[in-house]
């Protein structure tokens, strides 16, 4: 190693920092070869601050070092894609001069520690990812995975997460229009909180976080910096004393009011052309925002940490660089125009400080108390970030778990359906979404509770469909099939509201990637998602990976959440997911193949999670989605609802609930098939005059179709081979609508 000139960061004498060696680096989560690599890049031993910066930038969260080799498989391009993965969020063209900007991110670990603040700051973070791109956020979705309701702390976690999401989104004024919530013992010790946000911008209004222009000032705006969420791993390598108690890494606390005014101020700044780049200080705070911005623009920067607004005195340079205090933005302004930016922030009552400037030498120079505490080349840190192809191994018990399960016949169809509807898993989730403002901004045509949410685009006849899907039980039995199924189900949900998919974002939640079986799950899931994307023509435009969702060696079920967005040409007179009209004929699209592996029927009623999940026939999914979209756009159906967990039985019951209407049906199947989860199926309700036309269309497009009965009465009456049910819709509805609050004891 040799010290080259101008590369002489000495570290801070003022803050009594520990001596840097491999042991310290290990405590920060760096492997031995990674420590060697940073020494090589610098040509010397890093300072304490530099080591902290490196460990953050090379962390799994920021560097995607274990997932990158696989993520490259995703198709990320398409006619409408203006920005794929790699920016704060992806961008797709949705027509009429508008673009949609969206992304999904996890906030799993913080939500398990402090559910209210963890979930709230998850929403805050994803909203900032959207508005830093110049887009106004208009909708959120949340995909939540909880453990058994009776598991320790679980009611507290559920209540806290729901309140946290609600209080934050409601205050900022972004409607939460959908999402999903499910329960499985695999999440008892690791809940998942995946937050999605979507924003709108004009085509020419997109803003990139790419710094440029040596001499341009760097501005800090928003809340002051505290010790929130500083990398916990480092504390393990320091001895605890009276002083360290107060330095304990603290929970990030969200302030939605500040977020709202930061949002308004940033959008106003971006309309002025006075700003070059804007980025939020998210994970790894000032470190990742400054380095990413500079790396994208191929420039360097000089930061003076003494200018950073602090919430309390004596925060060290290391802590300032790694703090994850919320609601903070980093901006680069054009030299000479920073006053315009400052004025806007001050008008909104926000603190702004000039904390540095862009340089042309590609280096990060950081000063504190007049000392240089870091001096590192930016591009080599990014390009030399570690990347691993971790060992993979098929789980040893896979074959046993995939063995065909026994499927008992239901004793009593009505009672069986009622017991399924009586579970938190399949029961109504309105207890959750009544706590979310889903109508603010007055774009919500279809809100939570349907197959897909629908937003109107004011000033145009069109709109957007939004959905999020994954079935972790399928993924756990066969991650590749589960990954493809998540994509297919999202496409199907969108098709039910006539939406043509334009892109998806993913949140890939897995256990520890250093466990070969987890790595195998990840590789397989990505393979399945990629296959689904290619067959159904949906590009991946952004996403997030969350590893290490494990406790004492127990990993969560693989959970690759897919959130998909589609465009709708005309949002007037869309079908809904429930029956609306007495006399409508009910048609089932797609054909059952009696598939029960990983089904709700076996899992929730018989305690069996076994078998291969339902086969995913992507060709059939494509035909079905095409048919549904064409039925919707031609106005031929009043009701369209996809078949998912719980099969035809649960889908029919849900369709009865929305309007309180009954059905009378005759189905040529065995009784248990009512709960089979064969994919590529949906139900539609059609006015009698249109039945022939719908049947002809289905046959032409190669989708099996059968007419099973009609809408009417106040009961769900159903006959199949050797069994029948006749249950009052009102009774089933009461069970279904109170299942979740009853289980929670609310």
């Amino acid at each position: 190693m040799s010290a080259d000139q101008g590369n002489a960061a000495s570290g801070s004498a003022t803050y009594n920092e520990p001596v840097v060696d491999f042991e310290l680096a290990k405590g920060m989560g760096l492997a031995e070869d990674e420590y060697g690599r940073i020494c090589d890049i610098l040509g010397r031993v890093p300072t304490y601050t530099e080591l902290g910066i490196t460990s953050a930038l090379w962390s799994e969260h920021c560097s995607y070092k274990s997932s990158k080799v696989y993520l490259r498989e995703f198709p990320t391009e398409g006619e409408r894609v203006l920005q794929g993965p790699g920016e704060n969020a992806g961008v797709v063209d949705i027509g009429n001069g508008w673009v949609a900007v969206f992304k999904m991110e996890s906030h799993n670990h913080p939500s398990f520690i402090e559910p209210y603040q963890g979930a709230a700051t998850g929403v805050g973070g994803i909203l900032r990812d959207i508005f830093t791109m110049g887009a106004r956020p208009v909708a959120c979705l949340d995909a939540l995975r909880f453990g058994d309701i009776d598991a320790p702390r679980m009611r507290y976690l559920i209540d806290g997460v729901v309140r946290g999401i609600g209080d934050y989104g409601n205050c900022v004024g972004i409607p939460t229009v959908g999402g999903e919530t499910s329960f499985h013992s695999g999440y008892n010790e690791n809940i998942l909180v995946n937050a999605f946000a979507l924003g709108l911008a004009r085509h020419d209004g997109i803003f990139h976080a790419r710094a440029s222009g040596a001499g341009n000032p760097m501005l800090y705006a928003g809340s002051a910096t505290g010790r929130d969420g500083i990398h916990g791993a480092t504390m393990a390598s320091e001895s605890f004393d009276a002083e360290s108690e107060s330095k304990r890494p603290t929970v990030q606390v969200g302030d939605p009011f500040t977020e709202k005014i930061v949002l308004e101020a940033c959008l106003e700044v971006m309309r002025t052309d006075a700003a070059v780049a804007v980025q939020d200080m998210g994970a790894a705070g000032l470190t990742s925002s400054a380095f990413e911005m500079a790396d994208r623009g191929g420039v360097g920067f000089r930061l003076d940490l003494d200018q950073v607004p602090l919430r309390q005195p004596n925060i060290s340079p290391y802590e300032i660089m790694l703090s994850e205090s919320q609601e903070r933005m980093l901006l680069v302004a054009h030299r000479g125009r920073q006053e315009e930016v400052v004025k806007i922030f001050e008008r909104w009552g926000l603190e702004v400080a000039e904390i540095g400037e862009i340089t042309g030498d590609g280096r990060a120079q950081i000063f504190a108390g007049g000392e240089e505490v870091a001096n590192m080349p930016i591009s080599p840190l990014a390009t030399n970030a570690p990347m691993y192809r971790r060992p993979v191994a098929e789980p040893s018990d896979l074959a046993a778990r995939q063995a065909p399960p026994e499927v008992p016949e239901p004793d009593d169809l009505g009672a069986t359906l009622a017991s399924l509807l009586d579970t938190p898993e399949l029961g109504c989730k309105s207890w959750i979404w009544h706590q979310y403002d889903h109508t603010v901004r007055t774009n919500t045509v279809i809100g939570p509770g349907g197959d897909a949410a629908v937003l109107a685009l004011k000033g145009t006849p069109g709109g957007l469909g939004l959905t999020s899907d994954v079935n972790p039980v399928y993924c756990s039995l066969d991650p590749a099939t589960g990954g493809a199924q998540a994509v297919a189900e999202a496409v199907r949900n969108l098709a039910c509201v006539g939406a043509e998919p334009v892109g998806l974002t993913d949140c890939l939640n897995f256990g520890n990637p250093e466990n070969p079986e987890v790595s195998w799950q990840f590789r397989e899931a990505v393979r399945g998602i990629s296959a689904g994307c290619r067959a159904l023509d949906v590009p991946v435009i952004s996403g997030n990976v969350s590893f290490y969702n494990e406790t004492e060696g127990r990993s969560i079920p693989p959970t690759p959440t897919i959130a998909m967005v589609g465009v709708i040409a005309d949002v007037m007179n869309l079908p809904v997911a429930h029956f609306t009209t007495v006399g409508d004929r009910v048609l089932v699209l797609g054909r059952d193949a009696s598939e029960f592996g990983g089904s709700a029927y076996l899992r929730l009623l018989h305690g069996v999670e076994q078998g291969a999940p339902p086969r995913v026939d992507l060709e059939a999914e494509s035909r079905l989605a095409g048919l549904l979209r064409s039925l919707v756009s031609e106005g031929l159906v009043h009701t369209a609802h996809d078949l998912a967990e719980g099969g035809l039985g649960v889908a029919l019951a849900e369709a009865c609930f929305g309007g309180g209407l009954g059905v009378e049906l005759e189905i040529n199947d065995q009784p248990h098939q009512l709960f089979s989860e064969t994919q590529a199926r949906a139900i539609v309700a059609v006015a009698p005059d249109f039945v022939e036309q719908v049947m002809a269309k289905a046959e032409k497009l190669g989708v099996p179709v059968v007419e099973v009965g009609s809408v009417g009465g106040s009961s769900m009456k159903l006959r199949c081979d050797g069994a029948a049910m006749d249950s009052k819709v009102e009774d089933l509805h009461r069970i279904w609508s109170t299942a979740l609050p009853r289980a929670l004891g609310m």
Binding site: R163, G166, D167, N170, C171, V172, G173, D255, P256, F257, T258, K260, I261, W348, G349, W433, H434, Q435, Y436, D437, H438, T439, V440, R441, T442, T444, V445, A456, K458, V571, M572
Partner: protein
């Protein structure tokens, strides 16, 4: 009619009201900044929903001290129309421009859902587009919407016919007894959803008429509140001529 929509830090229904006034009703509308000291000749001022100052301390408590509020008060004193929706209603209560106060919902949770309102006064500038006793479906979205006052003050409110909207069941029946938790979800005293001042030119209401002003969303029951307020509701069915 020249209309103003006040923007406080944290207002988030400002654009929604603006949209209805401007694009659905074709009025001249401007945003009034909380730091301004004049309503710039507006004849109708709307205090929109949202979380002014984060609803910290008490909902509406800090917005009351904004410079614009002196001008809003002056407009009301001179007979101009002032409509407070949700957070705007809370601000009017904190300002003393309407009587009563807000507590947290009895569920202690934020509640976003459609409820039903009975029109108790159809002779006000804000309700001339409705029939007396008409039942409206309208969404609420708030955490602090439990209207309270002392028994005596409530009696006086009723005597002076200052209750404008009351929560009812879908058929117009009283939201009391077993019905109360379902249809008066915030637990408001006497199921009160909206009140006016003595002169009838200041109205505060918790439900959001601007969110149900377009058949695209399957409900335009709220349009007549805003249409009446700008003098455009000739047809008492709530339809705009």
């Amino acid at each position: 009619m020249k209309c103003g929509v006040v923007v406080f830090p944290g207002s988030n229904c400002d654009h929604d009201v603006y949209h209805v006034l401007k694009h659905t009703l074709g009025q001249e509308v401007l945003f009034l900044w909380h730091g301004d000291t004049s309503v710039q000749g507006c004849e109708l001022v709307v205090l929109p929903g949202g979380f002014s100052y984060g609803d910290y301390l008490r909902a509406g408590a800090m917005a009351v001290h904004s410079p614009i509020m002196a001008a809003v008060r002056e407009l009301a004193d001179n007979g101009g129309r002032v409509l407070g929706i949700c957070n705007g209603f809370q601000i009017l209560l904190e300002a003393g421009m309407l009587s009563g106060a807000m507590r947290r919902n009895q569920s202690l949770r934020f509640e976003c859902r459609d409820l039903f309102l009975k029109v108790e006064r159809h002779d006000l500038p804000f309700t001339s587009g409705y029939r007396s006793g008409q039942v409206l479906r309208m969404p609420i979205a708030h955490a602090e919407g439990c209207y309270i006052d002392t028994g005596g003050a409530l009696d006086e409110l009723e005597r002076n016919r200052r209750v404008v909207f009351r929560y009812v069941d879908p058929e117009g029946g009283e939201a009391s007894g077993e019905n109360a938790t379902k249809w008066n979800v915030n637990g408001s005293a006497r199921a009160i959803a909206g009140v006016c001042n003595d002169a009838g030119n200041v109205l505060g209401m918790m439900p959001h008429p601007e969110r149900c002003a377009d058949q695209l969303f399957g409900n335009d029951d709220g349009l007549a509140v805003l249409a009446s307020a700008v003098g455009m509701a000739a047809d008492p069915k709530g339809a705009v001529a």
